[in-house]
């Protein structure tokens, strides 16, 4: 018997095609936008790593920026004081963030309830306080500048491609984590903790491991951000960045992998294009942050499942098609 198979564009090919889109952009767009897009790619890693905990274990980490900040400041200080090459500085920052994540995770995640959200909500404030108290080392509110000689690449285009590569690598890593056996167990924990425990899954161990992976990626991304934009400051620690991360993940849909990715790129570009322009137009400086918070409230109340969930409900309401 002969079966005729039509060559079709399957799901994976679609993704590959989409992944090619950013490649020619530096040749088309002006430098300032290329620079911002690169930052958006790094920001996407912040969001993806946050969603690994929130979307797959059901724990809320409100201090994700602390891991980003630890990675950023560690790698910046190593490059400035000890003149270590960027790659080693970034990895060192990531490792320190992981160790910190392990300590926080082991203290908070063995307890049932919202202890993780509570403790991590305070951490950024404490860290900003530290940066100010020891402003001699950390540069206080102004932060530190690491200079062009420490950059990942001298040209903006070069750094853009590095940032894009870093995002794809991180996406692949998280894809492997959440689609493997480990990810399946995480989803079981998220859906029903007692049941997961009942079938013999070590809930605390899995949560802590997921938390450590998340911290590692956030730390690495923090380091990459520093060597991309050549400066480090308290804005990498702060609450506004944290909210931007949460907003992006929710907008895309928690625990949907590609949802938070799309959410991250959309929200980041919206924030730095639309919101800032509106804030400038109405001449109120802090209005862009306020718009972000209000958007988050609306999103939680009206679209808690995010874009992906919204598509699903829309599709389920369509009349069934028979093939």
């Amino acid at each position: 018997m002969i079966t005729i198979t039509r060559p079709k564009l399957n799901y994976l090919n679609w993704k590959l095609l989409i992944a090619l889109i950013p490649l020619p952009l530096p040749f088309i767009l002006p430098k300032s936008i290329v620079f911002m897009l690169g930052l958006a790619f790094i920001f996407a890693v912040f969001v993806l790593s946050w969603d690994l905990v929130a979307g797959y274990t059901g724990e809320v980490n409100l201090g994700h920026t602390v891991f980003i900040g630890i990675g950023a400041y560690t790698s910046a200080l190593l490059a400035l004081k000890l003149h270590t090459p960027p790659l080693i500085s970034i990895i060192a920052g990531g490792l320190l963030a992981t160790i910190f994540g392990f300590v926080i995770g082991i203290i908070c995640l063995r307890l049932k309830g919202y202890y993780l959200a509570l403790v991590t909500a305070i951490l950024p404030l404490v860290f900003i306080q530290f940066v100010n108290i020891y402003s001699g080392i950390f540069g206080g509110y102004e932060g530190l500048s690491i200079g062009i000689k420490n950059a990942l690449h001298r040209s903006i285009e070069g750094r853009y491609y590095i940032a894009y590569g870093f995002m794809l690598l991180s996406l692949y890593a998280i894809y492997r984590v959440v689609n493997g056996k480990f990810g399946l167990r995480l989803k079981a924990i998220r859906d029903d903790e007692e049941l997961a425990e009942g079938v013999g899954i070590d809930v605390v161990k899995h949560k802590v491991i997921a938390f450590c992976i998340s911290a590692l990626m956030a730390g690495l991304a923090g380091g990459v951000a520093v060597f991309y934009r050549l400066s480090v400051g308290v804005d990498l620690f702060g609450v506004p960045l944290m909210i931007l991360i949460i907003l992006s993940a929710l907008f895309g849909g928690l625990g949907t992998l590609f949802g938070p990715l799309i959410g991250a790129l959309t929200i980041y570009i919206a924030k730095y294009w639309v919101f800032m322009e509106v804030a400038r137009a109405i001449n109120i400086q802090q209005a862009d942050a306020l718009m972000m918070y209000l958007l988050l409230i609306v999103l939680i109340l009206k679209m808690p499942e995010g874009l992906f969930g919204w598509f699903k409900t829309v599709r389920s309401k369509l009349p069934l098609r028979t093939y």
Partner: protein, 277 residues
């Protein structure tokens, strides 16, 4: 040392007002209200802003407004009450929105309310303003009123029943939604009173709404989540720790000290001093 004890008692009284409401909402509705510090800030700012035109009447108006805002937050929470992550994120973004609005209106400056009564009295060699003494008395009176309200009135008993089991409360015919909204109203008013008292002693800036939460968290963790009695005792302990650290190391270390306390409790005795499992 007397200084720590006296100043710490006053600030502890204010933390008790803030934390008992926070603990009450957690105990009854099982929600973590990150917007709790907002009631505090709204009351303090409104009282300070209206004071020049309305005088002391502004203080009552401010506390009333905090209560109304509590009801607004409750209405927002209602549709998503059973999704804990969303409640945390919602109350957090409400808190940040209000902080941002205060920042836009009042800029990044500190405000305070002029004290109701001027004067200083010396207790054990430490000068204490009348304002502080009155603040402590008002705080203690409010806490006593809360205790009587929960124990003696019908609504108070309904609140107590709901905190033990909301399903069972529903089954015996208690209007749980009414209990939730009145709990939110009470805790917002308590935090509002705390805010007005605080603003007469210290200065308040838009960030305070969030900073207050750190102390409220520390108090409820130390006292045990959901236990009002534990919260009140823990509030005074945290007040002493905070005052001690401020005097010895400087006030910028007090937040660091408080998170150290939180983490230490979580390691040694996660259910707090009086918490129930």
């Amino acid at each position: 040392m007397w200084e720590v004890l006296i100043i710490g008692t006053v600030i502890g009284g204010i933390w008790a007002l803030v934390a008992s409401g926070f603990s009450l909402t957690f105990g009854v509705a099982r929600i973590f209200n990150f917007a709790h510090g907002t009631y505090f800030a709204i009351a303090a700012y409104l009282a300070a802003a209206l004071y020049p035109t309305l005088g002391y009447f502004s203080i009552f108006l401010a506390i009333f407004a905090a209560g109304i805002f509590g009801l607004v937050v409750n209405v927002l929470i209602k549709p998503i009450r059973d999704r804990e992550i969303m409640v945390i994120l919602l109350t957090l973004s409400v808190a940040l929105s209000v902080e941002q609005i205060l920042l836009i209106i009042f800029q990044d400056t500190s405000i305070s309310i002029p004290p109701v009564i001027n004067g200083v009295v010396e207790i054990a060699g430490v000068p204490v303003t009348y304002t502080r003494i009155i603040a402590l008395i008002i705080a203690l009176l409010c806490l006593a009123a809360l205790e009587i309200f929960i124990g003696k009135t019908r609504l108070g008993r309904e609140i107590n029943a709901t905190s033990q089991s909301s399903e069972a409360a529903m089954m015996v015919g208690i209007d749980v939604e009414k209990v939730y909204s009145s709990t939110m109203l009470i805790s917002a008013i308590l935090a509002g009173i705390g805010g007005v008292l605080y603003a007469q002693i210290y200065s308040v800036n838009p960030e305070t709404a969030f900073r207050i939460l750190i102390f409220a968290f520390a108090v409820v963790i130390l006292g045990g989540l959901g236990s009002i009695k534990g919260s009140i005792i823990a509030a005074f302990l945290i007040g002493y720790v905070q005052t001690f650290v401020s005097i010895v190391l400087g006030s910028r270390w007090s937040e660091v000290a408080v998170i150290a306390v939180i983490i230490a409790i979580l390691i040694v005795r996660p259910r707090g001093l009086f918490g129930v499992e």
